[in-house]
């Protein structure tokens, strides 16, 4: 069965500045949906509104047409990877994987640099390693949809390829909404993508739209 996550009628203002005004976005399980946009256009705000973590003047967020305003109360529906490290530094990898109900051995197989490091604290890892662990956990989390903000930042090219492989595998189980400025990776793996510009979402039909909407020079 295909599930949908849909959002529209979102209005977000910061003082006199209108950030989001005419939003329509739809994600489905089994699909990867990309979200591109220049800095300050409201990509992170939109993700936080979907997650229910940021209040907006108006918003309609629906899972299978059922409104869910605070999706963060339902991790079985939605999980969210913020663009910063969010895992408490004192926790060991073993503990983190136990919290998320995941097998550490699977991480070891995919990323051998973590072999025999389950007792390491997350605070003892390098910035890139921490980011990799956060990304892996959220992608593999048992939810119907997952929001991934600045997915490829701080990762080495070889790790980016492995994360893309992981996404392709996991899409069978869930739907993804991803954003990053490394837009070629986003366009590579996305089934469809939106550009956020002037407070509106534009569903991109042709790659030339990326240039027309002022996001990048092709």
């Amino acid at each position: 069965m295909i599930h949908t996550l849909e959002a529209d009628s979102i209005t977000l203002e910061f003082g006199p500045r209108l950030i989001l005004s005419d939003i329509h976005i739809q994600c489905r399980t089994g699909e990867i949906t990309g979200l591109l946009g220049r800095n300050g256009q409201g990509k992170t705000c939109l993700m936080r509104i979907l997650f229910g973590d940021l209040e907006a003047a108006g918003r309609s967020v629906r899972f299978n047409n059922i409104p869910v305003l605070r999706a963060y109360k339902h991790p079985e529906l939605l999980t969210y990877l913020p663009q910063f490290n969010f895992i408490p530094e004192s926790l060991t990898l073993q503990r983190i994987f136990s919290d998320f109900g995941l097998e550490f051995e699977e991480l070891e197989q995919r990323f051998p640099q973590f072999r025999v490091r389950q007792k390491s604290r997350i605070g003892d890892l390098s910035g890139g390693e921490r980011r990799l662990i956060s990304i892996y956990l959220i992608i593999r989390s048992r939810s119907r949809f997952t929001l991934l903000d600045e997915l490829f930042s701080h990762l080495m090219p070889i790790q980016i390829d492995k994360i893309k492989e992981l996404l392709q595998e996991e899409r069978a189980n869930k739907g993804f909404l991803i954003t990053d400025h490394l837009y070629r990776h986003i366009t590579d793996i996305s089934d469809k993508f939106y550009i956020l510009s002037g407070g509106r979402t534009h569903l991109v039909k042709e790659t030339e739209d990326i240039e027309k909407l002022g996001y990048a020079r092709l």
Partner: protein, 132 residues
Amino acid sequence: MKFRKTIRLLLTFYKNFFFFSFLMTLICMGLFREYGMSIFSTLFWLKLSTLGLTIVVIKSYKNKEFYYYQNLGLTRTFLWVSTLGFDFILYLFLLTGIHLLSAPHGIKEPSAAGTSYVVAHPAISLIHNLYP
């Protein structure tokens, strides 16, 4: 299993401010032992304000970590209510304990003549009768 996991996550969150909070509790216990009921309301508000300060500090320095708990189904409100609630109940429990232990013959009550006399607390009397 889910209950155990929730308790473990709450303990992880509580560890962020346990030492500071417990230190405050110990200080308040010392003051309460010294000055008795006359200082109770001051200590009550002092503890509440330190809990308020805890919220401000944790929100400033650990704000990003809330996403860890949220991705596991624990909301910010649940985390705060559970840990601060437990901490405050522990505080009241310890204060009551110190009050009972520091008044071996009961609680001092002022008399009409202005002098104080001791009313034996039932629990203390019972202990004294059992172990004279």
